[in-house]
Point group: C2
């Protein structure tokens, strides 16, 4: 599985960080290998995509965590550009109920016609939908000024090896029968026995799971969902001292709050994002280093601070690696 940050700033863009968007895909199933999903779509996301290895033709679904503008104002322009590129495949849009009237209102008042269908899925009904071919998606409700969700993405199928010792002991002849079982299909032997693949495959590895949070002032809400995840991506808008100054009104998390929840869940990889533009990249104060130090003080796992264009791979072994930045 891999994901790339297309925006990591909260509220407003800065010169180095755009507002929120994340691209995610599973590299597992060949048929889905080029399909990808977008989680949130702040203004300027299509501009980021111009400089990243994602095609609007292959975008399978968009998941919106909540309806604040810095998480969805890029959607109308992205859809319009996909239309101008003659995309024809339907696009699934998952989000809070106002997502549909938001887009339909924009399309009506700006006479935007699209050459592809939009399939809206209300996040409240996500459990009944089968949105992605390769990943199971669940939503967890968060705590923010307006309704907001986290999305978790879990591999639906993992590759499994034949239990060759068992096959040999059972007298199942090598060759076509083994191949069919490996491909997950039942086999009828010459002696009349019917073999179900489930009985002749080794247990699969753990399916990988990535959680992408929206804006949230209570990261503890994700502890249960994160217990079996390899990666938690969550906002850390402020350090504790700034959070105290700003007050609870904006309903965001500090780096400490998020790191404590990640530690409690035992999630091995934590990627912080959605930073207030007040944090400087360099030596200025307050700096991104303050966010990092605060999280490290209470979290012992692998910690990352997201930057725009940072691209991560989560291996089958559960190892998360930062592999590259922008492509061009």
């Amino acid at each position: 599985m891999e994901f790339q940050f297309l925006g990591t700033s909260s509220g407003t863009p800065s010169k180095s960080r755009n507002v929120t968007a994340l691209a995610l895909r599973s590299l597992g199933a060949a048929r889905a290998a080029r399909h990808w999903s977008l989680i949130d779509c702040g203004e300027g996301t299509q501009h980021r995509i111009l400089r990243a290895p994602w095609s609007l033709h292959d975008l399978h679904a968009v998941f919106i965590t909540h309806m604040h503008g810095d998480h969805c104002y890029g959607l109308p322009g992205l859809l319009a550009s996909a239309g101008m590129m003659n995309r024809t495949a339907p696009l699934t849009l998952v989000g809070p109920a106002p997502l549909r009237p938001f887009l339909e209102g924009v399309m009506a008042t700006t006479e935007l016609g699209l050459p592809f269908a939009l399939d809206f899925v209300d996040v409240e009904n996500l459990a009944d939908a089968d949105v992605l071919p390769d990943l199971a998606v669940r939503a967890t409700k968060l705590s923010h000024r307006i309704p907001c969700w986290a999305y978790s993405f879990t591999e639906k199928a993992v590759e499994r090896r034949l239990d060759t010792a068992r096959l040999a002991a059972g007298g199942v002849p090598r060759g076509e029968a083994w191949g069919e079982l490996q491909r997950g299909r039942p086999v009828v032997l010459d002696d009349g026995r019917v073999l179900q693949p489930e009985d002749w495959l080794q247990p699969g590895r753990k399916p990988r799971k990535i959680i992408v949070g929206g804006d949230n002032d209570s990261p503890a809400l994700l502890v249960d969902e994160a217990r079996d995840a390899e990666v938690l991506i969550h906002e850390a808008t402020y350090t504790e001292d700034v959070l105290q100054k700003v007050g609870p009104g904006p309903q965001h998390s500090s780096a400490r709050m998020t790191a404590l929840a990640a530690g409690e869940a035992g999630v091995p990889n934590l990627v912080l994002t959605h930073f207030s533009p007040r944090y400087q990249e360099g030596e200025g104060a307050p700096s991104m280093r303050d966010i990092e130090n605060e999280a490290r003080a209470v979290y012992g796992g692998q910690l990352f601070l997201a930057r725009d264009f940072d691209r991560y791979q989560l291996g089958r072994d559960g190892q998360l690696s930062l592999i590259s930045g922008r492509s061009a």
Copy 2:
């Protein structure tokens, strides 16, 4: 007067050109010197402003030529950012009638509250409005797939010199009386005479006038309006050969069509913009050079092809100069 291009691409952004936006201000009146206007606001305009010398606090009015997304999808995010910066001054929004339901729909579905008022002016009623303190604004209807306008900006007042020969001949004593007349105020002399400033000032120079067109397949519609303008800024989406291939459906102008109309109006400066992303900046084909050559072949005035961040000054003498690109 000065203006800066914040986007010069048609339809979709490219790596070097954003979708349409233009900043404009009059440097004449001191009280308005920091006030500026934005004409069109494609997605990502606020990102361009981050790298240009314009503050959202000083934005006085936004003029939208038409409701296609590449000319207005940046407006919700720009307003939201102005709000987060604690702007309190009311903002005037001039545009086609759907501009108001567009913004009100976005604001309602994304729960965007602003700490400043929005004053909507329907472009059809612009003649009755006094939108800018320093510039008279007129709208001219164009020909496009949806209703579209050009805006012309003309100085309301020009500095005028005292007619000193006449004052001396009339026996008006130097000093306070001359100063008051220069400031445009009537004067009562010791001998009882009442002097009206109009009678003692030399004729003013011609007020400067800049026309900013929207999308348009009939640039001849602007010939009358452009006869007394110093600058015409108008789309030249294609060259003639591409226009023939694309057909009339999109309702855009070729470089030749725009240049012919500018020549007919006798406007001394023509700035082309809104180029199809198919035109390459370098040696590729088709290239921006093709647009330039086609326009030059039929237009003898000063010709410019706009680029993002290009900044122009129009002097009191009517001379247009390209002064700089991006600030940071």
